[in-house]
Amino acid sequence: MTTIATAPATPPLYRTSIGKKMLMAASGLVILLWLIGHMLGNLKVWLNQREFDSYAEFLRRLGEPIFPHTVFLWLIRVVLTVAFVVHVYLAVDLSRRNRRARQTRYVRTARVQADMPAVTMRWGGLALALFVIFHLANFTWGWIHPGYRFVRGSVYANVVGNFDQWWLVAIYVAAMVALALHIYHGTWSIFQTFGANSRRWDRLIRRSAGALAIVMFVGFVSVPVGVLVGAIQ
């Protein structure tokens, strides 16, 4: 009598912890690509008020005439929101699974090699999520505008008004530190999670991820700091 190992039903990819990680990586990649565009667009503030405000208006006209006014921008916003929701939902889902797996903690813990970006993904990510809401309330919805008058559409003036205040700059710089750490580990993780990493390429991927994180940090931070020191008026 031969015994045949029957193929039991295995869950579809998106139900496995690795599949969920891949979805996290994919949604993270969408957000990252958008962030790169966001950062490059922000740099226009260094040119002059007209260039920057017309860039903001351009975003609303994007996709015309195939799409009506602002529709493409809204499409981007929808995709981004979905990516964001997926990213956060899976982060919570996977974190809960991970916590269940290690309920009893060690009396003594010591890290052997894990770097700070790797171990701060969870809390750093939470901080970033809160920052995104703050950021939207600050510049998109205009709910928070301490010490200056928020004018919808006057993007340049809003930015300059906002970052004339050191404590707002401090919040943004701190958030960008968290973002840079998140991007560093996240970018490397995208390669690792999709299996595109190997011992041979690991160093290059890590360095590229680090370079990207630094570029993103400098690009984003240049605006509030530029305003604060008076380089942008």
């Binding site: 009598m1 031969t2 015994t3 190992a5």
Partner: protein
Amino acid sequence: MTVAPEVPSAKPPTAAPHAPPAEAPREAPTRWRVAPADGAALDGHAPSGPITELWDRHRFDMKLINPANRRKNHVIVVGSGLAGAAAAASLGELGYRVSCFCYQDSPRRAHSIAAQGGINAAKNYRNDGDSVYRLFYDTVKGGDYRSREANVYRLAQLSVDIIDQCVAQGVPFAREYGGLLDNRSFGGAQVSRTFYARGQTGQQLLLGAYQALARQIHVGSVTMYSRTEMLDLVVADGAARGIVTRDLVTGEVQSRTADAVILATGGYGNVFHLSTNAKGCNATAIWRAHRRGALLANPCFTQIHPTCIPVAGDYQSKLTLMSESLRNDGRIWVPAKPGDTRSPNEIPEADRDYYLERKYPSFGNLVPRDIASRNAKEVCDEGRGVGPGGRGVYLDFSDAIARLGVEVIKERYGNLFDMYERITGENPYRVPMRIYPAIHYTMGGLWVDYNLMSNLPGLFVLGEANFSDHGANRLGASALMQGLADGYFVIPYTLANYLATAKPPPVGLDHPSFKASESDVAARTGRLLAIGGRRTVDDFHRELGSLVWELCGMSRSAEGLTKLLDQLPSLREEFWTDVTVPGMGAELNQSLEKAGRVADFMELAELLAIDALHREESCGGHFREEFQTPEGEALRDDDHFAYVAGWEWSGEKGSIEPVTSGPLPTPILHKEALRFEHVKFSQRSYK
């Protein structure tokens, strides 16, 4: 094979070449009895005919079991090493209901995993003249003519299938750039027939067998019981019908019935306390089977490995083997004068004694294991040993490093040097290594016939636990071969034949034999826990080990063995009155586990010594100081000792009550005559 002609063991050895003066004091056989010649013959049941066809013919002659009927048979396999895992997996695949037991937390951890060197097979991939017949010939000769020719021939035949099987399982053997399997020459063999997976061949072969076993566990044909130790064999109505086990986590003692019991529980090297065996390796399964009537064969055939890291202190818990290949480039020496405490690099050439090169100019540092070992002991006995306790010799690579460069040495032995440094804290690139022999393998074990069945019907014994294929000395890279041959390719056939022709009627747990075994086990456990003495189990194990190692280790003499036999009963008596075993039976209790094992070692040690005393010759791993050539070589006595010594427990077989005072009941010697029709007797020389 037929029964041995009676040889009165009191008779002095007849004049072999270079025989010592016959004046050597001879023990009158008061410590053992020879089975009467007209009694039941000890017969290996090897079929007769041309040796090349024996196994094929036998396979045809054996009865088969219909696939649909196999699941009606329940088979117990104890041990999950190469032999046990291979047997359990193969029998599960065939459709038998199998229960497999191991004391570790997973079957993957059995001590086969620690084998480093490789596995022999007569593939002749090198085109260097190897063949099944040559492997057979080398193994019989290497075993110093104390193994059964028919078994060894079958082993050599099956070696070829083993490699195929393991490769199919995904065992990552070393390969050449062309993609084909690599081979090396091992242990002085003139052909390259050893397959290897870096220095972890045993691990890879075991994982192959373990994975095959895991597949059967998954489909439900094998039920695995990890952390479960066999504490008794149940013999009901003359056949092996089950075992009694203790769950090492809960302490629960349980009986289990079976239609056949397979023991694959490894060797008894830990009787010496310090050995290269794992800490948990034990002889309890085979010793309890022996107490229930199974013959134990050739226990004095123990193998010593010359290149182990020496003992560092009293706390030493085990010895670690360093691959024998180190002797290819290392030079072995000790200070020329006793008591030289200078550090090795300060001792000038003139004050060093490269004793192997001096005494064996043609083989030098590459003399066989037993010769290298005995010489190390000799120089240490002279007070010239080095390192803690003076039990060690130098293995010096400075010449090789000067000749070949550090890089070459690093490439050849890098991981061994790292391991040495991890353990000793010394850098062998700068300071000579220190090595000393240690017990490594036991050729003796339960007696089995050609079908691997013991004298108890239904009790099969595989791998190191049986005595069968290595004679008095095992060749390097042959242990893995035997374990897998037994498990994959022998037992599936011979077990079927037994079940088809001699399967005993069903038996229940209410059979008195089961009740008796269970209560015996409970009584032993209770007794150990109740002693409440002052000495720990480890303390007794250390004392036992140093006694047996000293008096029945690398070299033995009638005088030393007699001394050992006089001391063992009192040690045992002290154990049973002064050992302390904390805790309870109904819990995880590692002290209790150890105590049970050490108690069995204490009894087994006595039979080991008696066997060594009775075998008045030197052969293989058994070296009697009285029986050597003028050059100090082992002197075999083929006229009187070309037989297998199968020892019978002469005490009450219905009980496993420990022997707590006086010597063991006088063991009874059964002889299985060995005939060598293909490999003719010859004496080796390494001068």
